[in-house]
């Protein structure tokens, strides 16, 4: 018997409505939801293929314990006993700073809440982090300083209310297709579209203005634009006078960014800068969306603050159709942040370094909590390499594939005394684990996701999980019992959510019935905003007046030179998501993967005598992979781009882990590489073959 269960798409942060069509315990297909407030009956290729992601092929269905090179099946009790033994040993003998957890931006709020509660109350550590570290940690850090809140200020529907739309360092038709769709529709309805991107993306092709700046020169461009606006008096004077501090500091600090100098640094012609500045500052409401092209730099936090400066002086914050809008990459990366899966923040962005906050939670949870400041995920990696970190539990993430400088990550994880991975399938990371626990997928559990517009929505169970797979909060509850901890005895996901609501002020007026009724609520949802908040900062900012914080342009950590003459940047493809562990199970999406993965300008290809799909090796100071080139004018000469979804051709062999000093965001968007043509008829080797060859060479 076939039935349809309404839920939320498990892919990007847009939060589209999706109906799961199931026959018994198999999800056979999906359908869009016409009445959904965001997706309105649309889905992207990933959403349409979501049924395959839930497939039972390759699923881990029981706990597994390492035995030599392989794994053997184990009972939950045996696996949990082993975990208890290892983690409590290291916590008690080496201190809580030597153990930690990585939560999952794809899991529900309920799962994430349970994970950080376990880290803080049972392991007594603040070593809890997740992949927001490598997507929008600079947004959280930067916007918290300038506005007092790190999330998208407006709603997706505001795209349709704007007269100017700016797409800055992101490619929404590929990575957030339904937002991309709204942008295309708004453009057709007459809105002006301006794209800032080193690549000629699909939206750049149809845009009114495309500023094709050089890689890693965001701050220079933004300072230049602010300078033009202030010089000509195009700023929103009333808004700035009433709601913004430090204009004079700003004016002085950026005076040196003359249009001519900015052209020199960024390559954007003076008249294009002036045109952009005029259109943006004169707009009635300008919606600015940005993505990884802003955050994944050593100057990530500075980039975010510069964007905030531009929007603030033009008064494009705190009103409909405008805003500073970071597009979040994962279905629930917003929620994982909301739930406090960050070393420095408790649920609802309550600061972990504030003793009053720690006391509040200790009281609410009826036990002591971790006191020592926590480490970020990359910080934990470094501690592992220094032999100062011994046991790690990772939920549904694949850092071996998605973190920068793959060889270092693997080396770090191998140093652990105990690595626990809670996963659906045997990812590259899971293969390094000592214990693997089976996880239920989104279609197999109840809970909530928070989308990038801060909308908390209900996720519903359509089918039973296979084998012994469990929701993460259930796994945590069983583990807590083994550790003898109290406060994890929830009967269902709704009980977890009610506990979240009781300690998270921005969620305080939410409940499952209210979420159902309203098709999701946008936080803050509290006494002041019982029906949620589509637009933030309408009357004031959480820090009172917003701050303009001048920053200066810094070059990328690595730049092309004689030895490594190209810039390499990482991208996403419409058909794939994250490490590919879900999308690559779909035969159609897998078929859509290009034969070559290295995008190269025709001029560069010509210079190197490369043809379309020519086999090449790509080398950086850190690693080497083989693939094929795709010759395209999407990238300018001197710039190569590579998608990061493919475990056999991992871009993170090449990327640089130089980090933003504030958030430790690695510079995934820029590194220097060279391209080594292979014989015309050579077949590019996968990383696994290359590794085996390398090891054989060493053995000789």
């Amino acid at each position: 018997m076939i039935k349809t269960t309404p839920s939320v798409c498990p892919y990007c942060g847009t939060g589209c409505g999706i109906g799961l069509r199931s026959d018994g315990d198999k999800v056979i297909g999906v359908e869009p939801i016409s009445s959904h407030p965001i997706s309105k009956g649309r889905l992207c290729s990933k959403g349409w293929s979501a049924a395959f992601a839930t497939g039972h092929e390759n699923r881990v269905t029981s706990p597994m314990i390492r035995e030599g090179e392989g794994f053997r099946k184990a009972s939950w009790d045996e696996a949990l006993t082993l975990i208890h033994e290892k983690f409590s040993y290291h916590r008690d003998h080496h201190g809580p700073e030597t153990v930690g957890m990585i939560s999952c931006a794809r899991a529900t709020n309920e799962d994430n809440y349970a994970i950080q509660k376990f880290a803080r109350t049972v392991l007594k550590t603040n070593n809890i982090d997740h992949c927001a570290r490598i997507c929008h940690s600079p947004s959280v850090a930067g916007l918290q300083q300038t506005l007092g809140s790190g999330a998208m200020t407006n709603s997706i529907a505001d795209v349709g209310k704007a007269d100017v739309i700016v797409v800055f360092g992101c490619d929404p038709t590929e990575s957030h297709s339904i937002i991309g769709s709204d942008i295309m529709k708004a453009k057709e309805a007459g809105a002006l579209l301006m794209v800032v991107d080193p690549r000629r993306t699909r939206l750049a092709e149809i845009a009114d203005v495309h500023l094709q700046l050089r890689l890693g020169t965001n701050v220079a461009l933004l300072n230049g634009l602010v300078n033009i606006i202030l010089e000509r008096g195009w700023e929103d004077k009333a808004f700035v006078a009433e709601r913004v501090d430090d204009l004079d500091v700003m004016r002085k600090a950026i005076a040196e960014y003359t249009p001519e100098r900015v052209e020199e640094i960024t390559g954007v012609p003076v008249d294009q800068q002036i045109q952009f500045a005029r259109l943006y500052s004169h707009a009635r409401a300008a919606f600015l969306a940005y993505g990884m092209g802003v955050t994944q730099y050593v100057s990530g936090t500075n980039n975010v603050m510069s964007i905030s400066n531009l929007a603030l002086i033009c008064g494009h914050v705190g009103k409909q159709g405008a805003g500073i809008n970071p597009l979040r990459g994962q279905n629930n990366v917003q929620g994982a942040c909301d739930m406090g899966c960050l070393p420095c923040q408790y649920p609802g962005y309550q600061q972990a370094n504030d003793p009053a906050v720690r006391d509040k939670f200790a009281k609410a949870w009826g036990t002591t909590v971790g006191q020592i400041p926590g480490m970020t995920s990359l910080g934990m990696n470094e501690a592992m390499l220094d032999d100062a970190f011994h046991a790690l539990m990772i939920f549904g993430e694949d850092p071996v594939l998605t973190d920068p400088d793959q060889n270092q990550v693997t080396k770090a994880l191998k140093k652990l005394d105990c690595l626990v991975v809670v996963e659906m399938v045997m990812t590259e990371t899971a293969q390094l684990a000592d214990v693997v626990l089976p996880a239920a997928c989104f279609a197999e559990k109840n809970g909530t996701f928070a989308s990038c517009e801060r909308r908390v929505q209900r996720v519903r169970k359509a089918v039973n999980p296979p084998g012994e797979c469990k929701s993460d909060w259930q796994t945590i509850a069983m583990m807590a019992e083994k550790f003898g901890a109290k406060g994890f005895g929830w009967a269902n996901s709704e009980e977890v959510f009610n506990e979240i609501v009781s300690v998270t002020p921005i969620y305080s007026h939410m409940s499952y019935p209210r979420l159902d009724e309203s098709r999701g609520l946008q936080w803050p949802c509290n006494t002041h905003h019982p029906d949620g908040s589509p637009v933030l900062h309408e009357r004031s900012f959480p820090i009172g007046k917003a701050r303009l914080i001048p920053v200066h342009n810094l070059p990328t950590a690595e730049q092309p030179d004689v030895e490594y003459p190209y810039y390499l940047t990482t991208i996403r493809l419409h058909f794939h998501y994250g490490c590919g562990s879900m999308t690559r199970k779909s035969p159609l999406l897998e078929r859509e993967s290009p034969k070559g993965l290295l995008f190269m300008n025709p001029r560069d290809a010509n210079n190197q005598k490369l043809f379309n799909h020519a086999p090449v090796g790509v080398r950086s100071r850190r690693g080497y992979i083989e693939t094929r080139v795709v010759v395209t004018d999407q990238v300018p000469p001197g710039l190569l781009s590579i998608p990061y979804h493919f475990f056999d051709t991992p871009s993170n062999q090449l990327t640089n882990d130089a980090q933003d000093p504030v958030t430790r965001m690695p510079e995934l968007k820029a590194c220097a590489v060279r391209v080594e043509p292979l014989a015309r008829d050579a077949e590019p080797k996968s990383i696994h073959t290359l590794r085996a060859l390398h090891e054989a060479e060493l053995a000789e």
Binding site: M1, I2, K3, T4, P6, G17, G19, R21, I28, G29, E31, P32, I33, S34, S35, H36, G41, R42, L43, C44, S45, G47, W48, A51, F52, E57, T173, E174, S177, I178, G180, S181, M184, K185, E188, R202, E205, I206, D516, R519, H574, F575, P587, L588, R591, E592, K595, H613
Partner: protein, 340 residues
């Protein structure tokens, strides 16, 4: 033809549910409408004039199904097995699509295994639906006799209140399904009332000039390649139009290991994806997005297919328009072509 009077549609559904698994479009609390099973005795109100976003296509041509199993020695066909079913309250556009698929899949054992077990209960639409243009492509708003087993058409309403239904038995299977049910014979006025109703409904359709114009241009090959290429720039290959189109029938196959067996599966495909026609060498006759888009609409509106299939591939349901993220669904595309 046997025609009866029916006070409440739910009586018929309940009668059929005694001996069939009944699927009906049900609107849930969230305002979405899907085909859901309804048991005998279940109290679910029937809503006329609803057209779910998803057609009943998948109830015959499943989005994912096994074709055969190979156990290392033998191949074993895996046909779908289930008892008799009723799809209840299907509108003319979807019934037209089913009869189109019946032709296309006439020799397909998987499709036929489901189709042979299914009784179709159609319903006449009394007003155009959002985006629907069935009238322009001869697929509605009224159900043709040969494409349903039973047809429901409303009696004239008094003061806006529905006064009952006429039940038309348009096939032997339909007649057999209601035999034994306590029904009054209709008097002969039903057909003129139905005809009047049809004319009223047809008069309410919005202008379809862009559709007619677009069909002419596609058949005259009057749309330049450059225009297709430009329009295709807005197609992100989401596959939504193919998924929702009630006449799209392309599928891909794959082999999946299950225990010690290999299972051949077929899954819905979309010709708008670049991999659809990609050859093993990497060569691709439809590598340009514009070519793929042209092919899609040619399939839906070309006279070449009328010769083969007896009608256009498009049944005018307008679902592609409502699901297209790139504003290149049927209305948008036909408007853009006719204004070119």
């Amino acid at each position: 033809m046997n025609v009866y009077e029916l006070d409440r549609i739910e009586h018929l559904r309940d009668w059929l549910a005694l001996s069939h698994q009944v699927y009906q479009a049900v609107e849930n609390d969230l305002g979405n409408c899907n085909w859901q099973p309804i048991e005998h005795g279940e109290v679910v109100k029937f809503k006329p004039n609803v057209r779910p976003l998803v057609s009943p296509k998948s109830l015959f041509f499943s989005e994912q199904e096994n074709m055969f199993v190979f156990d290392g020695e033998k191949f074993r066909e895996t046909l779908p097995e289930h008892g008799p079913r009723v799809i209840f309250g299907v509108s003319a556009c979807d019934l037209t699509a089913i009869s189109y698929q019946d032709k296309h899949f006439r020799k397909d054992p998987y499709y036929q295994a489901r189709r042979q077990q299914t009784l179709l209960v159609g319903i006449d639409c009394t007003k155009p639906c959002d985006g629907g243009f069935c009238r322009s492509v001869d697929a509605g708003p009224h159900v043709k006799d040969e494409i349903a087993d039973l047809i429901l058409t409303p009696m004239p309403s008094i003061g806006g209140e529905n006064t009952g239904w006429w039940l038309i038995c348009s096939s032997d299977a339909g007649r057999a399904a209601v035999s034994g049910m306590d029904l009054r014979r209709a008097d002969s006025s039903w057909s003129s009332w139905r005809e009047m109703n049809r004319r009223h409904t047809e008069a309410e359709f919005k202008s379809d000039v862009h559709i007619i114009n677009g069909i002419q241009r596609i058949n005259a090959r009057a749309v330049p390649d450059e225009l297709w290429e430009r329009l295709a720039h807005q197609c992100i290959s989401c596959s939504g139009c193919s998924q929702l189109c009630p006449t799209c029938s392309c599928y891909a196959t794959r082999d999946v290991a299950e225990d010690t067996n290999m299972v051949r599966q077929r899954v819905w495909d979309s010709c708008l994806m670049v991999g659809f026609q990609k050859e093993a060498s990497g060569a691709n006759p439809a590598a340009e997005a514009g070519r793929r888009m042209y092919r899609y609409w040619y399939h839906k509106f070309s006279e070449d297919y009328v010769a083969q299939m007896g009608r256009y591939g498009c049944v005018g349901c307008g679902r592609c328009e409502s699901t297209c993220p790139g504003s290149v669904g049927v209305h948008s595309i036909m408007e853009k072509i006719s204004n070119a």
